[in-house]
């Protein structure tokens, strides 16, 4: 049962073939069986999950009309607040903090009867591409436990690939949903900025952060997207418009006549040949289904990474200022408030977080603001224009999600620039605020590890990604004869 899709699980629940308590327990059992190897979870709320499942079962028994995902379990990235449940953001700074309120995403999950199993591991405060920056130890890729599951949302993607949960919530600031999806053979969507409320998402970079659905199929992601998306008056930057019809688009999957733009700048040097090969094969499959493949150029993308590493650290230097030991979380030392703040921030933040706070503090300093933050904002505008121009020639844009398959744990830990380059293809969409999806394109011939295919759509046209993603997914399933995760190694033998 745990290997089925969320949509299939929902049907079984609806048909009364299985109860939510049974389904939830099956996932809790799988977590107990494999998570000592994978370490996807930082906190498992067995009791809460079973109680939630029981409540849904009772409602169903009473004949209530339940939302589509009612009773299906989910793993929540530890960056989202859930009332009374520890929320650490992968940092020692927040160890033991139990938020007194639900994030809007959690409120909507609860309204939709989705059962929350627990909180998943992540790079500290969502800063990283490997989940190695978690203060609670790395998460291991279920495809190869010596490799990274991507980041920052490696816990969520690994939980999906290890069948510990059929659905998960991620957040994506520069690729933290899509790159983990790519390297674990799962699906991840960063909706249009403002498409899903950020209320209760502990901010890394406010103008880039976007929560979104993680799943094993495009349709599952679409159902989750519709459950959590839409306007929220608690988030000023959320868009007051209906959620794009993503479930209908995923069910449709007809790309005949659609124009698919390949971004020239997101391939070639630095991309693993096997990853590019899979990307081109995917394009061919889409062409076979009647899509027109065109090439587009986005010449300012070369500056995207540099702009991102000024804007994101600048905002984080301000967002993370509140962790000062005065009100919640870690507190080290005694003496003056200033001493306590200094000692706590010294002890509570990891190296990567400190690196970015220092970068951002510098970039915003008087005398440097125009040269750094100001210029980065201009680049951001130019990248948005690149996208606007490209979308004149194509309905969606595509690229490999990440340049390589999963690398070894520790391999890039001391080379931040190499680590940052992992997000080269995902960052432009965050800067422009548009949507991006990653779905598996296959296993690279060099290492037999999954690679991702990225689809990008104009703002609030998220349904286009689901349509194209669903078409490609179906074609690949026909080609392979089974879902990609059926090739993943068995876990829990130990």
């Amino acid at each position: 049962m745990i290997k089925k899709t969320a949509t299939e699980m929902a049907s079984s629940l609806k048909a009364g073939e299985i109860s939510s308590v049974e389904l939830t327990q099956a996932h809790l059992d799988q977590i107990a069986k494999v998570d000592s190897e994978v370490h996807a979870f930082l906190y498992v709320d067995s009791e809460g999950a079973i109680n939630q499942a029981r409540a849904i079962d009772e409602k169903r028994k009473s004949g209530a009309d339940l939302p589509p995902l009612a009773g299906v379990p989910l793993a929540l990235k530890d960056v989202m607040t859930q009332k009374g449940i520890p929320t650490t953001c992968g940092s020692k700074m927040l160890e033991g903090w139990r938020p007194p309120y639900d994030s809007t995403v959690v409120t909507r999950l609860k309204e939709n009867g989705v059962v929350i199993l627990g909180k998943t591991n992540m790079d500290e405060f969502a800063m990283g591409s490997s989940t190695e920056n978690s203060a609670y130890g790395p998460t291991h890729n279920p495809w190869d436990l010596t490799r990274i599951p991507g980041g920052s949302g490696g816990g969520s993607s690994a939980a999906l690939a290890a069948f510990e949960a059929p659905l998960a919530i991620g957040t994506d600031t520069g690729g933290s949903i899509r790159q983990p999806a790519a390297v674990t053979g799962t699906v991840g969507v960063k909706p249009t900025y403002g498409g899903v409320s950020r209320y209760g998402l502990v901010a890394f970079s406010s103008s880039l952060d976007q929560a979104g659905p993680c799943a094993r199929t495009v349709l599952d992601a679409a159902h989750l997207h519709e459950a959590i998306g839409g306007y929220d008056k608690l988030d000023s930057t959320s868009i007051n418009a209906p959620i794009p019809p993503v479930v209908a688009a995923a069910k449709d999957g007809n790309v005949k006549g659609m124009k698919i733009g390949v971004i020239k700048e997101l391939q070639g040097d630095g991309y693993q040949p096997g990853v590019l090969k899979l990307f081109n094969e995917s394009l061919e499959l889409l062409a076979q289904q009647g899509a027109e493949i065109v090439e587009v150029s986005c010449k300012y993308f070369d500056y995207a990474l540099a702009a991102y590493y000024l804007i994101a650290p600048s905002e984080c230097s301000s967002n993370l200022a509140r962790f000062d030991a005065m009100r919640y979380g870690m507190r080290i030392g005694s003496g003056s408030a200033e001493d306590v703040m200094n000692l706590t921030r010294q002890a509570g933040f990891g190296r990567e977080v400190k690196r970015r706070i220092i970068l951002g503090t510098y970039a915003l300093s008087s005398g440097y603001y125009d040269a750094y933050y100001g210029s980065a904002q201009k680049v951001r505008t130019l990248i948005s224009r690149d996208f606007e121009n490209a979308f004149k020639f194509a309905d969606v844009l595509v690229s490999p999600t990440a340049p390589t398959t999963a690398f070894k744990i520790g391999e890039k830990a001391n080379d931040p620039i190499a680590m940052y380059l992992n997000d080269i293809a995902t960052i432009p969409t965050n800067l422009a605020g548009i949507g991006g999806m990653s779905l598996p394109s296959g296993l690279a011939e060099e290492d037999g590890l999954p690679a991702g295919f990225q689809i990008m759509a104009p703002a609030m046209q998220d349904d286009r990604m689901y349509k194209v993603g669903s078409a490609l997914e179906a074609a690949l399933l026909t080609k392979w004869g089974q879902p990609i995760l059926a090739s993943a190694p068995q876990l829990g033998a130990k």
Partner: protein, 500 residues
């Protein structure tokens, strides 16, 4: 020996800059739905947003924006079609996010002015104070430093934090550099804050209570030698909590600066704290190493873009200007210019108006507030408005006088009793046994006693020397412990002595 003010202004020209912070009277805070009522138990008016809990996000209070636009329009400002909030980053425990959400380089209202009139020996003088900007921001929480001698953070044993105030909407009104006031700088500063307060009160956007901190003024003062163009170094005086203090603080800083300059010393650019008791300032934080606030646009908020329709709607609903209102009152009450200026200067105009509304005669109401009550306020070194006597109390007293139930002399005792906290006027009349002796037989007894004691005086009066009656009237008043109506006594006495 402190320098004389005359010597300061003979040599230097003062330059002012005034920053006024106003707490808006919205029901909820700037970025969340928390209550804003003053004086609640610590940390009871808080939520994840104003506590800056991880994950929480601000949402702008639309009412606060409308109020700010109204203030801008009343101060003749242009309203920006597009303005943004920014983050002012610095660490301080009473600031939950360690940044203050404020407006920085894109404020909502710019380039206005306010005309103020001051009363001088040469008659009323008008000055135009130019307004640079009106912007919105959130207030911080409050730190209470426990232990230690000063109540300041240095030397304290520990500090308590109350976040009820955190996130209360604040509007900051900043003037351009104010020059050309000469010796009237302190009066202009006071008149500006007073006029501004009246405008804000008229708009109904704030309760403008300086003593509760809902209106706070920072006074920037610098001096330059007369004839010199270049501005001198300024000091910024904070904690100026009354209109009277605004005037005192500016005057005091002018003298302090002049003393330094005369001695060849330098004025330090710094924040100074005003002390109500001494009228002096002491240094606060030095601004020589200017703090870098690393301002950047607040990414959690969308820009404020009021529609022209909204602006015009607010403009149409603005109340009349205080100057027009004052003119109407002056005409209705038939008050001479001089008296009007005196009421404004003593800051009792609103009190007089309220007293009149409660049924008192305008002239009597005015003379009480400007006379006896002002005198008592002066004695205590406070403003009349700060005395514990209300316009209702004064109205009650004035009405009793008009009915002949109190004499002016008795009324003074009642006023004194109210201020001493003995109760409402009726309670004091009761408890102190104050009443006008108007019983003719009681008065006649006293009159006869006075005549018996001073027969020679009585004889003079009988002989037609009426002014001599004063001594007898005095004796009667003394006998009745001042509770008799002197006019009545005079009438009865003269009649008795055959002079009526």
């Amino acid at each position: 020996m402190a320098l004389k003010y005359e010597d300061v202004i003979a040599k230097y020209e003062p330059v002012l800059g005034l920053e006024v912070h106003v707490e808006l009277g919205t029901e909820s805070k700037m970025f969340c739905g928390c209550n804003t009522v003053f004086g609640a138990a610590p940390n009871t008016q808080t939520c994840p947003v104003c506590l800056g809990l991880p994950g929480s996000l601000p949402v702008v209070n639309g009412k606060a924006i409308e109020y700010t636009i109204a203030i801008g329009l009343a101060l003749n400002c242009s309203i920006a079609p597009f303005s943004r909030f920014a983050r002012k980053n610095y660490f301080y425990p009473d600031m939950p996010k360690n940044f203050q959400t404020s407006q920085y380089d894109e404020p909502i209202c710019v380039n206005g002015y306010l005309d103020v009139t001051i009363d001088t020996e040469e008659g009323p003088k008008e000055f135009r104070v130019e307004i640079e900007r009106v912007h919105m921001e959130e207030d911080t929480g409050k730190s209470l430093h426990m232990g230690g001698a000063t109540g300041r953070i240095h030397g304290a044993d520990y500090s308590l934090l109350d976040y009820n105030r955190a996130g209360i909407p604040l509007v900051e009104i900043v003037t351009k550099v104010i020059t050309g006031t000469g010796k009237y700088a302190p009066e202009v500063a006071k008149a500006y804050v007073s006029e501004l307060r009246d405008i804000l009160r008229g708009l109904g956007v704030s309760d403008v209570k300086m003593e509760q901190g809902s209106l706070r003024c920072d006074a920037n003062v610098s001096l330059r030698p007369i004839g010199v163009e270049k501005l001198g170094t300024r000091s910024e005086t904070k904690n100026v909590n009354s209109l009277r203090s605004v005037e005192r603080a500016v005057r005091g800083e002018m003298i302090r600066h002049a003393e330094l300059l005369n001695n060849g010393e330098k004025v330090v650019q710094e924040t100074r704290h005003f002390h109500e008791d001494t009228g002096l300032t002491t240094p606060g934080r030095s601004k020589e190493q200017a703090e870098d606030y690393r301002y950047f646009p607040e990414p959690d908020l969308v820009p404020v873009a009021p529609t022209p329709e909204l602006i015009e709607k607010i403009r149409a609903s603005l109340p009349e200007k205080p100057s027009i209102r004052r003119k109407k009152l002056q005409d209705a009450w038939q008050v001479p210019d001089k008296e009007m200026a005196a009421m404004i200067n003593a800051d009792v105009l609103d009190l007089v108006e309220a007293t009149v509304k409660l049924g008192a005669d305008p002239t009597r109401a005015r003379s009480w507030w400007l006379g006896e009550i002002a005198r008592l306020a002066n004695e205590k070194g406070v403003a009349a408005a700060e005395l514990p006597i209300s316009s209702a109390d004064v109205a009650e007293i004035v009405v009793l006088i008009e009915k002949g139930e109190l004499t002016d002399k008795l009324a003074r005792q009642v006023v004194e009793g109210v201020i001493a906290g003995e109760g409402r006027p009726s309670e004091i009349i009761q408890s102190r046994g104050i009443q006008v002796v108007s019983d003719d037989s009681a008065l006649m007894a006293a009159i006869e006693k006075a005549i018996a004691l001073q027969p020679d005086v009585a004889e003079k009066v009988r002989g037609g020397h009426v002014p001599a009656a004063g001594a007898l009237i005095g004796a009667v008043m003394k006998e009745t412990k001042g509770q008799a109506d002197a006019a009545k006594v005079r009438e009865l006495l003269l009649k008795h002595l055959g002079q009526a």
